[in-house]
């Protein structure tokens, strides 16, 4: 029954797949970042490891500033998405009774429609011939032909917040649900006003859920490149775009790998710093939920 | 089949550092209602699980109906268990739950239907065949669990504190039910519980366990009247203790010297070693208040409290050396209740035969 064999039969298939398609590729990318070039193909041996790509990125050029900018934008998007989603999550967790499930689903559905399409939708809306502009022109409110907002960093930020908003509400909602209601009753019993109860009890206790949501938005967004292409224009280009080019037309895989790795490391460091600042020890559990 | 139904010979169970079951010997007779009684953590559940085959002894031998089954896994033993939380399959109807064991054996549908109907009738649950467990009350779920086990006609039926989740009244009803069922079916029952009243009510014999060891195996009356250790005396009912030094044995009466009380007489079952110190136990209902008879032991004290518990009155009496005795007296009406009050001096007396010599 508890035969050892069962355990391995269960773990081997997913384990192998994850190892071969996740762990190994990332390791290969790490290795590639130390190669001077790709002579001999990706699997060749006999090259001397070099730090030149790292030096390129860290030393001169706009790479690091751009990474910093991308990180800043990601932080902004994550922060604003969480802030905007919090009241909605609170509403669903505390104020609604029977129809919670329905309202929650209603909120989530947009997230499950194509990310690409929602971004394109914004491109359409914000463009100079776009819906927004033409709608306003139709109403006679404006006859400007310049695109409002489009092709800028702000467009990227707005679009990304819009895309992530429904998703962010979920972990925050789950975290709020788990708060023991009797704690709030105790707080009221001890004389706290509703706002005080919220500030001293609900808000701190909801933090694990918020942090989880924040991290789940922040990390993917640092590497975001699609939104910049569609709505960012030339000024909206981010770190991820450069990596994409290096693996596309601008063929320089080692450099691209180095940049990708630096991004990963940077993100990791930021998360650790965030964890220290916010004293979060149950981040993993929150993510698991 | 004349030998014991279940036999544990020198069985121990170790979990890492912890010795849950420590070298126990048990022999359960065929057709017996046998209980294993003890506080939580005493090893009774581990023992039951070893009989069931979910755990295997770290040492010792286990036999069922004479055949060695020490390392045989659960699904190959002719033993069935009723779980504490019933463990009914939520996706199967009552019928299918009960039929599960029979289907595993590949019996024919007609035979299965017959046996299932029989089992459900036995536990008085006809008419519920197509319901799902979630639609049943706790008591009903428990009967389904019983039927599911019994339908397989096992050699031994194991019950793991099955009445724990039921309310008082239902518990009492089910206790009688189970006893009746066992007598009707004639199968050996091994019943695990921490409730001594339950064990005393239902069992033919009881094994009292603590800390992984079996302290005493006896029928209810013997356990109650002649507990072998202080722990057993305390666990089964309430006890009052005195510490005495053996003085001499005259005929069937033994005399003990108890500090602050004087000579206390007992009727020991066997020889006593003079000069040895031992515990003397008296049950609360054997003590009389201000009603001595010739030949009685007696001691004086002060009433601390009198507590009304419905059919009885409990008195807490403080002796000279500070020991508090509990006396249980029948409630014979309002006058009896006011006769003795807190603060009153009283004389407690009891017959020598009521003194039990207890080791430890």
């Amino acid at each position: 029954m508890k035969a050892y064999g069962v355990r391995w039969a269960l773990l081997l298939p997913p384990g192998l797949v994850l190892f071969a398609l996740f762990v190994v590729p990332v390791l290969m990318m790490v290795i590639t970042s130390f190669r001077p070039d790709l002579r001999g193909g990706p699997f060749a041996w006999g090259w001397d490891p070099t730090l030149q790509h790292y030096q390129n990125v860290i030393g001169g050029g706009d790479y690091l500033p751009l990474l910093a900018t991308s990180a800043r934008i990601a932080l902004l998007v994550a922060f604003l998405a969480c802030a905007l989603a919090y009241p909605v999550a609170y509403f669903l967790a505390f104020r609604v009774g029977r129809s919670t499930s329905l309202l929650l689903t209603l909120l989530i559905i947009p997230f499950w429609s194509s990310y690409l399409l929602r971004t394109i939708a914004w491109k359409i809306i914000l463009g100079s011939n776009g819906a927004l502009n033409s709608f306003l022109g139709f109403l006679g409110l404006t006859n400007a032909t310049a695109p409002i907002l489009l092709y800028s960093r702000s467009a990227v930020v707005v679009t990304l917040i819009y895309v992530w908003l429904p998703f962010v509400a979920l972990p925050i909602y789950a975290g709020l649900l788990r708060i023991d209601r009797s704690l709030l009753e105790a707080s009221a019993d001890l004389g706290a006003s509703r706002f005080q109860s919220f500030r001293k009890v609900t808000l701190p206790l909801s933090m694990p859920g918020v942090i989880a949501a924040f991290v789940m938005v922040f990390i993917p967004t640092v590497g975001e490149y699609v939104a910049p292409i569609l709505v960012g224009g030339t000024r909206g280009s981010l770190y991820g775009n450069i990596i994409e080019i290096l693996f596309g037309d601008g063929i320089n895989w080692p450099l691209g790998s180095a940049m990708a790795l630096l991004m990963l490391v940077g993100v990791f460091i930021l998360i650790l710093a965030l964890a220290k600042v916010l004293r979060v020890r149950n981040l993993i559990e929150a993510v698991e939920r | 089949m004349n030998g014991p139904s279940v036999e544990l010979v020198g069985v121990s169970k170790r979990y890492g550092e912890v010795l849950a079951v420590d070298d126990i010997y048990l022999a359960v007779g065929e057709g017996e209602f046998f209980s294993i009684l003890g506080p939580s953590g005493c090893g009774k559940t581990s023992t039951l699980r070893m009989i069931a085959g979910f755990e295997f002894p770290t040492a010792g031998v286990l036999r069922i109906n004479g055949m060695e089954m020490t390392d045989v896994p659960a699904n190959r033993r002719n033993v069935n268990m009723v779980f504490q939380n019933y463990a009914l399959f939520p996706h199967l109807s009552v019928n299918e739950n009960v039929a599960f064991g029979l289907r595993v054996k590949g019996m024919e549908n007609s035979v299965i239907d017959e046996r299932v109907a029989e089992a459900l009738a036995m536990v008085q649950l006809e008419g519920m065949h197509h319901r799902k467990p979630a639609q049943l009350s706790g008591g009903q779920q428990q009967r389904v669990a019983l039927a599911r086990a019994l339908v397989n006609r096992p050699a031994v039926l194991l019950l793991d504190e099955p009445l724990g989740a039921l309310d008082q009244k239902l518990r009492k009803e089910m206790q009688f039910e189970l006893k009746r069922l066992q007598r009707e079916v004639g199968i050996t029952f091994v019943y695990v519980t921490h409730d001594q009243e339950e064990a005393l009510t239902m069992s033919d014999r009881i094994a009292v366990m603590n800390d992984g060891r079996v302290l005493q195996v006896d029928d209810s009356a013997s356990l109650y009247d002649r507990p072998s250790t202080r722990f057993v005396a305390n666990f089964i009912g309430t006890s009052n203790f005195l510490t005495g030094r053996a003085v001499r044995l005259e005929g069937s009466v033994g005399e003990f010297e108890v500090a602050g009380v004087g000579t206390v007489k007992a009727q020991p079952a066997g020889p006593i070693s003079e000069g040895s110190t031992t515990s003397l136990m008296i049950r609360p209902e054997r003590l009389r208040l201000n009603a001595s008879e010739p030949g009685d032991n007696s001691v004086d004290g002060l009433v601390d409290e009198s507590i009304f518990v419905g059919n009885d009155i409990l008195y807490l009496v403080r002796l000279k050396d500070g020991t508090v005795f509990t006396i249980r007296d029948q409630n014979k009406g309002p006058e009896a209740r006011t006769a003795v009050r807190a603060g009153d001096p009283v004389r407690l007396s009891w017959a020598p035969a009521a003194t039990t010599i207890v080791s430890d």
Binding site: V6, L10, L11, P14, L21, F22, P25, V26, M28, M29, P42, V88, F91, R95, T105, L106, W112, S113, S114, Y115, L116, L117, R118, W122, K123, I124, I125, G127, G130, A131, S134, F138, L165, M216, I219, P220, T221, V226, I243, E244, F247, S257, A260, L264, I284, V287, R289 | G53, F54, A74, N75, R76, N85, A87, F89, P90, F100, V104, K105, A134
Partner: protein, 260 residues
């Protein structure tokens, strides 16, 4: 006090409307008689839907996405279920490590994953194709399937396994007749989620794609062609409605087994 009560629901309503607006705008334009995606509207037409149905490339891309989606969902659900069973029911060394590795694909930017897989496939001299896209999607679908099935298993009464053995069942009988029937709704929900993840996924697909495009890749390529774009919008609307349907179904199932 009373005003606070009104603010929250109002905020919710406002946000939901804002979320749906662009989608509705798209839907609107898919019926618009004109290629420019701007106001004023020109008139109602179903031309674009008809054109979409005739557009071979478009339909081929959609079919590719569907095929990949089905394959990915099935593989990811099976693998995720196996992993979930192992994680919830058994102890083994390195459990935490395994869990982390299983969940991490969700935390790594897809750009990096896509790039890493590109390196892997070219090193192994594997031609990029729909198969490689499928492989990439399986990796990112597994965290979802593991979490969905595991959360169902966690609430699963452990005694049920022992009860089955007690009644004579073998491990395989237990799996077939007790465990799988009970987690089937969760597995289905996981399947649907994995399908949606794969069907709409763009970044990984664009790095691992071969000659045959998936739908998102195709759509991305069509963005610049204004005259063909409304057909894309029409298809997008259809896809959107279908995805909605699937997600609602998944939600239904999750609610059904939570009630047990």
């Amino acid at each position: 006090m009373i005003s606070r009560f009104r603010i929250l629901p109002a905020y919710y309503a406002f946000l939901v409307v804002l979320l749906y607006l662009p989608l509705l705008v798209l839907l609107l334009f898919s019926f618009n008689d004109g290629t420019a995606l701007s106001f004023p509207l020109r008139g109602f037409t179903t031309d674009w839907y008809e054109g979409m149905l005739a557009n071979g490339q478009l339909l081929a891309a959609a079919r590719n996405s569907a095929v990949v989606g089905v394959g990915v969902s099935t593989v990811a659900t099976v693998l995720g279920t196996l992993a979930a069973i192992a994680l919830v029911r058994y102890k083994f060394p390195g459990k935490t490590l395994f869990l982390m590795v299983a969940v991490t694909p969700l935390l790594v930017p897809f750009l990096i994953l896509g790039v890493a897989l590109l390196i892997l496939f070219s090193a192994l001299d594997v031609d990029r194709s729909l198969l490689t896209v499928g492989a990439a999607h399986v990796v990112v679908a597994i965290p979802y399937t593991v979490l969905i099935v595991a959360s169902r298993l966690v609430g699963f009464n452990r005694n049920l396994e022992e009860a089955a053995y007690d009644l004579g069942a073998s491990f395989s009988y237990f799996l077939r007749r007790v465990l799988v029937p009970l987690i089937a709704p969760a597995m289905l929900a996981a399947w649907l989620v994995a399908f949606t993840v794969s069907f709409d996924e763009f970044v990984l697909a664009s790095f691992t794609i071969g000659r045959e495009p998936t739908l998102p890749v195709f759509i991305f390529g069509q963005v610049r062609f204004a005259n063909r774009f409304p057909q894309v919008v029409a298809l997008a609307s259809v896809v959107m409605v279908l995805s909605l349907g699937m997600v609602l179904l998944a939600q239904r199932l999750q609610r059904a087994w939570t009630r047990r």
